[in-house]
Symmetry: C2
Subunit: 325 residues, 2 copies
DNA sequence: TTGAAAGCGATACCAG
DNA sequence: CTGGTATCGCTTTCAA
């Protein structure tokens, strides 16, 4: 491997001078050309790891999230990656598959693995765990989509309550009175908020909450699929189902199809996130669309500000969702 | 930040001893406890970047691919990540969005960023470019899904030709004679192979190739969507369309829905990759299913072997696809 | 402007 | 079994 020493030797200067050249310092014109030539000839590239060991600063940004399969996350990622890239950073994704142990391990690894900053979608960690892993290290963290209560770090979130409330309100406006909801585990902030929005809409619509119509489980296809069966097996089944996440929506739609039930003829469905897929269906299923681009851009922008030394108090930003009907 | 020195001091031993303890060497029992206590008290974690600077070995594995949105890639990734994790590695994804410049930059960055190995889905780079960026560095690379001709590195690929041939043959067996194909750019190996499989099936079916029925473009939704319009606008439109990738399939299905054309009533479609989505549709669309799990596991296994010193000649492995009807 | 020397955090070697 | 020393590749004083 070619190092800065090799370049220095070939160019006939000292490593310090080469370093200065690379980092934009003042170097005599003739040395500049000599160094540039040497670098080209040797195909030299700085070793970011040696550099960051010394500078305690890095252009690698870690992205830590619970799932890769969700189009929501890949949408957000593409957007934040773009901004980071434009600013000279390089982002690298790690996925912890909603697993508590993995989440802890990866967070610890990333924090000490020489990343310059972290964009983090939390799920299981407590504030204590988070703090223990991150304190002392000087790595700025921006929370995305969710936040750990008690953690003093920037957070960029979607307005889950408002969005769910509107979605459910829409179903009510269409005349539905028996509206089911299938939601994620209450341990997940977004799931809790989406359920809250649903409840709020019911209340505002003067509809009594019927707990048999509220199913909850993991944020998976299976939850939607099985939830649908359970709901339709009720003595008095719902006429509409509000799905609070992409996979749940897919599960519900699939289950309906398999039973030959028409959407929205036999049962209405309001989905979440799966904009593209839902548009493909024979009669398009309405969905809540989260502002993926903006979420990503904002999170990246916050992180960059922190990396550039901003020390304002932690900011929590909520971005609006929209309904795709 | 707490370093190995701090631990050594607190434990009353030298840094070398602590290092030995951490890396599983023989240390006197009383020192072991002293060190363990010190580590716990200080919350010490090794700094992987300092370590790999010294050892020229790293447990970070880079994954470099052209797209994140494709369920195919996320499926493959989940599988390889699992195996790598079980073996103590940590994988981090970088995405280059099919961009040539980004692909080159990221490859260069990763190779010199201290990763231990790389799983790489190539798209635009030539063998020369690849070699220039990687030679000298001692980082094993396994190519996934595609390979650069002339690059001597392991490769794990799907049997694209056979799969496409079977898919097209199936349409022929159903009585179709005018079968269109929408494929990706011929610069992409998988696209070329899938087209070849289609042509092979036609030939074997005694059907003359009609170039007006062969549309090609980027591997995007738009290509499928617009391709569908173009094909259906022909004087003599096809009765079946073979889509050679996930997004193209989605584009075609969407376009058909929007025109109110029934699949397979008005036109038959054979898709690729989108197993879950296609199963949801009112009448399920048949698709080619790639062996994502196996591809990922095999690529990871090859990489691990290389990391453990295997120096067998480069291996190229092809894995079978299946048809989901 | 330049370069010698120190040092980032960890490991490897080798003498004790 | 232990610890002093050199070193990984690079940046950063600081003196010349």
């Amino acid at each position: 491997m070619t190092t800065i020493k090799d370049v220095a030797q070939l160019a006939g200067v000292s490593p310090s001078t080469v370093s200065k050249y690379i980092n934009g310092g003042n170097v005599r014109a003739e040395n500049v050309t000599a160094i540039r030539d040497a670098i080209a000839e040797l195909g030299y590239r700085v070793n970011p790891i040696a550099r960051s060991l010394k500078t305690r600063h890095s252009y690698s940004i870690g992205i830590l999230l619970p799932s890769l399969a969700a189009p929501f996350f890949s949408g957000v990622f593409m957007s934040l990656d773009k901004l980071l890239r434009e600013r000279g950073y390089h982002s690298m994704i790690s996925c912890y598959y909603s697993d508590h142990g993995l989440e802890r391990d990866y967070l610890g690894y990333l924090i000490s693995a020489g990343i310059g900053g972290l964009i983090y979608v939390p799920e299981n960690l407590t504030a204590e765990e988070f703090l223990e892993l991150t304190e002392g290290r000087n790595v700025p963290v921006v929370q995305m989509d969710r936040m750990i209560p008690g953690v003093a770090a920037d957070a960029v979130l979607a307005e889950n309550i408002a969005a769910s409330r509107q979605a459910a309100a829409r179903l009510i406006a269409q005349g539905h009175r028996r509206i089911a909801v299938i939601s994620g585990p209450s341990s997940i902030q977004t799931a809790k908020e989406r359920l809250a929005g649903y409840l709020r809409a019911l209340e505002e619509g003067g509809i009594l909450y019927d707990s048999t119509l509220a199913v909850s489980g993991e944020l998976t296809f299976a939850t939607g699929y099985q939830g649908f069966s359970r709901l339709m097996a009720l003595d008095n089944p719902p006429t509409a189902i509000f799905c609070t996440n992409h996979d749940i929506t897919m599960g519900v739609v699939t289950a309906a199809r398999e039973r030959g039930l028409k959407i929205p003829g036999d049962v209405s469905v309001f989905g979440y996130d799966c904009v593209d897929v839902c548009a493909v269906m024979t009669s398009a299923v309405p969905v809540v669309r989260q502002p993926e681009r903006e979420l990503g851009r904002t999170a990246a922008a916050y992180l960059i500000e922190r990396l550039e030394g901003c020390d304002a108090p932690p900011r929590v930003t909520r971005l609006k969702c929209s309904l795709i009907l």
